[in-house]
Symmetry: C2
Subunit: 298 residues, 2 copies
């Protein structure tokens, strides 16, 4: 692309004159005197290389060159005005695109509410969400292919800041027929002999490790009977009798007839959902998103 040679205000003057077909009236509409308008048009004609108007008694008419230029000039002015407006909206955090990464296990939890709340307040912003595990989210944040990351167990990475959005206890997931389902609180150690249904580590290493850690703290290594990639599946497999599970409390939302959720003992094991973003991020879209997300915390 060459350096632009036309000035926008000249194109504007041109379009106004093309509408009025009269230098005097066009100058009034432009808020300037008539001679300067003559100059603008003359300069424009010099740059184009051909007359744009034919001067005739009583007014002017467009030449064929002018007729060709007019629609393009209008479109260009419209593009600039629209682009400016869009940029201002985006700069004010009212419109644009924000890219959010989230851990699969949050699709059941806070993600839907946050997105709903944000859409309500900023309907002109397009939110592009992608399911990613922790490590890819960190990489994507640093590589600027996402703007906000929602994940479990905040990582401590230079250049990123994380804040806790939700802290939830773990619950035991049991088939309703199971002996322990009769109790209000289940000691973790009581699950030592049971086969476990867990999310595979590839789906979200941190949650997986956290749960295994809970078991180890209770003095046993969980026996993995079955892997799954979504919490819904985990619950379904528990219902089918393939084992028991320990899961963040929000899986209670998965309401299955054959599954019971019970508090566990010790109760101090919790999993933290964090919202990550780049350090020093000033993009208003991101700032607004973070604000809204914060307000969604229970």
């Amino acid at each position: 692309m060459e350096r632009p040679q036309l000035a926008l205000h000249q194109l504007h003057a041109f379009t106004v004159l093309a509408e009025e077909l009269h230098f005097g009236r066009a100058a009034v509409r432009l808020g300037i005197a008539q001679p300067p308008l003559s100059q603008q048009i003359r300069r424009l004609e010099e740059k184009v290389g051909h007359p744009l108007f034919e001067r005739r008694p009583g007014g002017v008419v467009l030449t064929s060159a002018g007729r060709e230029l007019l629609p393009a000039a209008r479109r260009a002015l419209g593009e600039v005005a629209d682009g400016l407006e869009a940029a201002r909206r985006a700069g004010g955090g009212e419109a644009g695109l924000i890219r959010v990464g989230f851990a699969a296990s949050l699709a059941l939890t806070i993600l839907p509410g946050m997105l709903r709340a944000y859409r309500e307040r900023h309907p002109a912003v397009e939110v592009r969400i992608s399911e990613m595990t922790t490590a890819p989210q960190v990489a994507a944040l640093l590589g600027r292919s996402i703007d906000v990351g929602l994940l479990r167990e905040p990582p401590d990475v230079p250049g990123l800041v994380a804040e806790a959005v939700l802290s939830e206890p773990f619950v035991a997931v049991l088939p309703v027929g199971h002996d322990l389902a009769g109790q209000r609180v289940v000691p973790v150690a009581a699950l030592a002999a049971e086969p476990f249904v867990l999310l595979g580590p590839e789906a979200g290493p941190t949650v997986h490790e956290r749960i295994v850690g809970v078991c180890r703290a209770a003095g046993f290594e969980p026996r993995i009977g079955q892997h799954a990639v979504e919490w819904q599946t985990v619950c379904a497999l528990v219902e089918a009798g393939l084992g028991v599970s320990i899961a963040p409390a929000s899986v209670r939302r998965v309401r299955l007839k054959g599954v019971a959720y019970r508090r566990i003992e010790p109760a101090d094991a919790r999993t933290v959902v964090a919202m990550c973003r780049r350090e020093g991020e000033t993009d208003p879209l991101v700032v607004r998103f973070v604000e809204v997300a914060r307000a969604c915390m229970p």
Copy 2:
């Protein structure tokens, strides 16, 4: 539309920087030093009201405002470049739109050849033709709703210039069975008793009057048996035996089995086809059209 506030060269600098994401390289591509580029971008950001780039070590990245502005800036620059190019082509007579009025009776004659020749030489020019009789053509030329008029019997109107494109004699149109069809040359006076098939005066007053004039010169007032609005119809009606006619020689192109065309006596009556345009017309499209049309004369 408000007065445009952005300068095109700033938008251009912006798009280049958005491609390079590096002030130094962008400045090189723009052929300026780096500090001026910083200024341009800063000015642009001031006008937008928000930062367009985020300055980070190793380069810059677009903000959301910048991402919104970029496509619009590209489109606007493209529109301006295209419009300028189109205007230059039109100014050079290579492209654009030319509006031509023509008398119905010429659709059979020179019009097709002229249009073909013009299209060949100026394929990018759109030719919009409209069938009009003489008076509307004159009005349309003066009112600038057509650029060129093709009509019979050049009118002498101030502000318009006409030049003869074709001069053709009249011929008698006779049914093949008619007595006079046996002769090579038909005296007009011999048609005095015949019913005439003629174009209605509303279709083209000048030709009509011209033909009636030929009859009057031969000493009789033609008896109009039938009106028609196209020469093809006139010939068909003659073939059907509804009368005879006098017509410009180019109706010979209407080849009907039952119709004969014969020279008339006196032979000095001719009809002139003229090409009209506004006086002092400088529009290159029109000038080129006139040149090509002139070259088409037989």
